[in-house]
């Protein structure tokens, strides 16, 4: 554990702190909308980790400059960062929004059906429904279910 190692890894650790904050919101919060926000934070932290793997110190964005005639001049002394993680994460951001919107639509349906978006209330409602079902079917079969 020398200074170089710590300076080179502290970025990753900060991303992990952000990721864990997102995970904490997902696990501890009872509100479904807040859970989705937590998932988004987690997801964005993963994106940051991937993008930081492609970064090269002293590098620049992987876009080749062109002069006024539109002629490309590739200067071999310029270092470009790795474009592959950028491509992966572009796809992931769009897919992430698609899944978020699906989750939000599910929340709206849950609210319509049960009139709450708090998970502990939902658990109570589910238990009531199950015990009512058990009672009904138990009587039909002639005993406790």
């Amino acid at each position: 554990m020398d200074w170089d190692f710590i300076a080179g890894h502290v970025n990753y650790w900060m991303f992990i702190v952000l990721m864990m904050t997102g995970l904490y919101i997902v696990v501890s919060s009872g509100n479904l909308v807040k859970k989705i926000v937590g998932l988004n934070i987690f997801q964005v932290a993963v994106f940051m980790l991937y993008i930081s793997i492609g970064k090269i110190t002293g590098g620049t964005a992987p876009i080749f400059p062109s002069d006024r005639q539109g002629h490309l001049e590739i200067d071999p002394t310029i270092v470009y960062s790795n474009p592959l993680p950028h491509v992966l994460i572009l796809t992931a951001i769009v897919v992430g929004v698609a899944t978020t919107s699906l989750g939000l639509a599910l929340i709206i349906r849950i609210r319509e059906e049960f009139d709450t978006i708090e998970s502990d209330d939902l658990v109570k409602i589910e238990q009531q429904l199950t015990s009512a079902d058990n009672k009904e079917h138990g009587e039909a079969m002639g005993g406790m279910a």
Partner: protein, 186 residues
């Protein structure tokens, strides 16, 4: 050096935003802070040389997601219930997972190392050859739309499927609501 300082400042802002989200119970504030979080992320992506990702994140993360969440909030509830049960177990889970992840970074190459495996494998070939083969100055665009065009097609399919799912879940929402109100009147 300047980049490192900017990174640290952005991180401090990101982490304080995330902690504020943990503590908030007003959903409107939570959603707005999530939008702020996305914008700060976009800034961080610019310092990490990912300009394309930065403006996608600013448009999609800070724009569209926020609008979707605000719509959901308008259709559901404005406030989250304050937590009742203890936070010890979630905190423990998060600490253990975080420790495992940090252990996983121990054998990763240093941040910004030009000789890291990710930098020396196929990435230089894309950078060298994309200008001859695709003739687009932006390498990210060249890879996204041409080399990995099928991935982007698959992504479109995922977005399409999600759109159909949302439509199926929400179709008839207004009709069912109206029927409920009419039943309530009788």
């Amino acid at each position: 050096m300047t980049e490192t300082i900017i990174n640290f400042i952005l991180f401090a802002m990101l982490i304080s935003t995330a902690f504020a989200i943990v503590r908030m119970t007003s959903l409107f504030a939570v959603i707005m802070l999530a939008s702020v979080f996305s914008l700060l992320t976009a800034l961080l992506f610019v310092t990490l040389d990912a300009v394309d990702v930065a403006f996608t994140e600013a448009a999609v993360g800070a724009g569209i997601s926020t609008v979707l969440m605000l719509g959901t909030m308008a259709l559901t509830a404005r406030h989250a219930k304050p937590q009742t049960q203890s936070n010890a177990i979630p905190f423990l889970v998060v600490c253990v997972t975080g420790a495992a992840l940090i252990y996983g970074t121990m054998d990763m190459p240093n941040f910004g190392d030009p000789n890291a495996p990710a930098q020396v494998h196929v990435a230089p070939e894309y950078l060298e050859r994309s200008i001859e083969e695709i003739d687009v100055p932006n390498v990210v665009t060249a890879i996204l739309a041409s080399y990995r065009g099928y991935d982007t097609l698959g992504e479109t399919a995922v977005v399409f499927a999600a759109g159909i799912g949302v439509l199926l879940l929400l179709s008839g929402l207004a009709r069912r609501r109206k029927e409920d109100e009419e039943e309530g009147d009788i």
